[in-house]
Symmetry: C2
Subunit: 213 residues, 2 copies
DNA sequence: CTCCCCGACTGATCTGGATCAATCTTAGAG
DNA sequence: CTCTAAGATTGATCCAGATCAGTCGGGGAG
């Protein structure tokens, strides 16, 4: 069995940095910032369990959630020598890290990460279409479909994000996201059991709104 | 020397597909669609020379240019088994293709593509911030800085894109892009020698507008 | 149980960029 | 050279979503 290092909530403040564990698994509480945009990029990381988000900030505080990550997704990337994004857990999460040098030494790792990068790059392409060309209602429909796998039919989706976080992901304001949820409910496409518990009732209409995504 | 297969303009219609050349180099004229979103994904491609753009379409015709590519950049990606984007040359270009299976067999190739994917993924993260949170003027400033490398000081940048293509890249309309160019000119940050020939006069102000990018 | 507080919702108003509608400019054709 | 057509610019108006301003609701502390 693989080693799992448990880190309790209290041992990480919201802005703590991750200790330099090599190859080990690391359990992190929800709402912890694991990486900071602009810090020196030493390691590449993978989500093993849980959900995370990558964010970028403008100098004046405007924020964009650039990517949502689930198990298998890779983060800690850098175009130059510093991290391009901050990374924050949405739920309790387990992550692994790899030395950047290991990419050349370990072909199996490189091959696996390559495949994952391809998936994530395609997801970013879709997201560019969402951010650049879709209306508010379409964006929220797209968001919900993306989070709700086909398989789950009657099930309810638990949102681990606030309206503000969803807004920062979709390039909207929290008020607009809230109105979009209400409008989808009014049209009978979704049901809101609680603010963070959504049920998709009319998948076809949702798909049509989201551009057959 | 590597083999270069020259393809003349006339031999490709705007919507022709690329013949199945393995590992060879292929010269393609400007404004040729090399890949079509939704086609079966057989090969992974690399830009050797020239500039290209990747686009995605919504069913109703809205278009997003999701990525701009230069030498070294990779395209022809697929999340499932079909291409996620169409790929079109902006200038005359030289491209290579690799069999998708070669990624496992050739660690050097995998390692090189991995590095490039990382760069492109970071570029997409920046672009998400641009599309989600920046004003029209900021977007255009960011776009021009990105295209104009630091080194070139007094030089002029030749835009290989129409206002419509720039608009589709930045999530705006062509009118708004045109107005942004005029505003940057009015403020003295750029000079427009011709519609497609730009000079950056005040790099610092541009950088401030673009969010210190 | 009540109280408190944070997040969600909703209404009223404002505005940046979209849309609609002419020109203007400039390669390229003849 | 002139003529033409495609792209760029500019102006007028409109509207989706931002902003501002409360109110609502539900889960945790006491």
């Amino acid at each position: 069995m693989r080693q799992i290092i448990e880190e309790r909530t209290g041992s990480y403040s919201r802005h703590a940095s991750v200790p330099d564990m090599h190859g080990a698994y690391l359990r992190v509480a929800a709402h912890v910032t694991v990486l900071h945009e602009g810090d020196t990029a030493r390691r590449i990381m993978e989500v093993v369990e849980g959900a995370m988000m990558l964010t970028k900030l403008l100098p004046d505080g405007r924020r964009q959630v650039v990517e949502l990550l689930g198990p298998g997704d890779v983060f800690g990337l850098a175009a130059c020598d510093v991290y391009a994004c901050s990374a924050e857990t949405l739920t309790t999460a387990v992550i692994t890290t790899h030395d950047r040098g290991a990419l050349d030494r370990d072909p199996a790792l490189a091959s696996r990460l390559l495949r994952r990068f391809e998936t994530q790059l395609c997801a970013m392409h879709s997201h560019a279409l969402v951010l650049g060309r879709m209306s508010a209602l379409e964006r929220v429909a797209f968001f919900l479909l993306r989070l709700m796998p086909e398989s789950v039919v009657g099930g309810t989706l638990h949102l681990a994000m606030t309206r503000q976080e969803i807004a920062d992901f979709l390039g909207l304001t929290l008020e607009t996201v809230s109105r979009a949820f209400s409008e989808l409910k009014r049209r009978g496409l979704v049901a809101l059991l609680r603010a963070d518990e959504v049920q998709i009732n009319d998948r076809n209409s949702m798909r049509r709104l989201a551009g057959a995504a």
